[in-house]
Subunit: 242 residues, 2 copies
């Protein structure tokens, strides 16, 4: 199993996938000193070049950044003879472009933070079945045979969760104005579950803390799902930019 | 305990509050034949007039309709020597007007349907403590000493739940377009709870079935909480009117 890119996702995957039968490889080629340090601390063999990594891996994992995903596929996809798993949080359109450069592409999306207690790996594509063995290490769900579906589903999930956060921010503001903040959480806990308060405050705070990034993600969602009018999502974007 | 109005709320309260020590009274004065039938089937003493009901009750419950709430208080509030509990789903402003006509007003709001498994009675006002004994029969929560707070909290709850329904409708539409309806529910169940699918479909269907009434409620919310811009709630109204 080879990694192009060795940030948080790759590092955590190596830690989670503990198996005598799986050897991990990557390269330090042109990497930052921070990344090289990450690699050194992990149980990973270091090859000279990423071309070597691509050639030698049964499963090649591209885990870099959405921006670099396509370039990596262009450069190394042709050397990958096994599965090419993209974990770059790419758009469905980018997944289709990458598919032109990598023969056995599996479109992957991680739900939840990779270092949270229970991340889930969504995979789609005709070769996704070959990766279901990963369930032994990380919850892995095949969505469909269609490249792009894992990415679409991740966007759909974001559509809901990010718009919900905007709604929570707005409701919470009104509750505070009326001095009914605690009561607001209490009364909704009756139907929304006991953890409503804690979960909602965490969503509100996370969203306000990174509202610029969340806004950008909402903009991507609006531009991708452009066949719908997306009244609620557009309002969420407006709310976050307020 | 006296009732002015004997619809679903009053009928269910009489069934829930089973106590040797509490006698129920109401009147058939100018009531519809359907209401008179309801009264006959319940364990309630029938007095000649609502004036008699008001005079003889330690706790007078006004459970009629939001539209009639103020008129009932104007007509019978002056005869009520005990607690005057308004359960008419009124706005906070109406609660304050009613307070001018009833000496010991308690502002009440029922969360959940009265005939659902676990309705909750929210109460506010200086005399609300005197009604906490109702907890033996129905979950009763005092919100504050301020008249109007129970009504505000009910509106706050609606702000959240009705806007959430609009968001669910929109997300569900996109999921269906992309043939990922089941997967959408599955992936959100991971973080939103196992009952996410069932609860969401029930919210979507209930909202679409009574979208006109829900729209009117959203309009009331927007007009009451007018100190805020209410971006999300206004979008929900637009979505329901789509």
């Amino acid at each position: 199993m080879g990694f192009i890119g060795f940030g948080k996702v790759s590092k955590n995957l190596v830690e989670m996938i503990k198996s005598e039968e799986i050897m991990f490889v990557t390269s330090a080629e042109n990497r930052s000193s921070e990344t090289v340090e990450n690699i050194r601390k992990s149980d990973v063999r270091i090859l000279d070049t990423f071309k070597d990594v691509a050639i030698q891996s049964d499963i090649l994992i591209s885990a870099n950044s959405p921006k670099n995903a396509l370039n990596i596929a262009r450069e190394y996809g042709k050397y990958a003879k096994g599965i090419y798993l993209d974990l770059n949080n790419i758009s469905p359109d980018t997944a289709h472009e990458i598919n032109e450069h990598a023969d056995n592409l599996v479109d992957g999306a991680i739900i939840g933070k990779i270092d949270s207690p229970n991340p889930t790996l969504l995979i789609s594509g005709e070769n996704a079945d070959d990766l279901l063995f990963l369930s032994d290490f990380i919850k892995t769900v095949k969505i469909s045979d269609r490249i792009g579906d894992a990415s679409i589903l991740k966007m759909l999930r974001s559509t809901y969760t990010k718009t919900l956060s905007a709604l929570l921010i707005e409701s919470h503001e009104i509750a505070k104005i009326h001095n009914l903040e605690e009561e607001f959480f209490d009364v909704l806990s009756l139907t929304e579950g006991k953890d409503f308060r804690e979960k909602s405050l965490s969503r509100i705070n996370n969203t306000l803390k990174s509202s610029k990034r969340k806004s950008e993600e909402l903009e991507e969602i609006i531009s991708y799902f452009n066949e719908n009018e997306l009244i609620m999502v557009k309002a969420a974007l407006k709310k976050l930019n307020q």
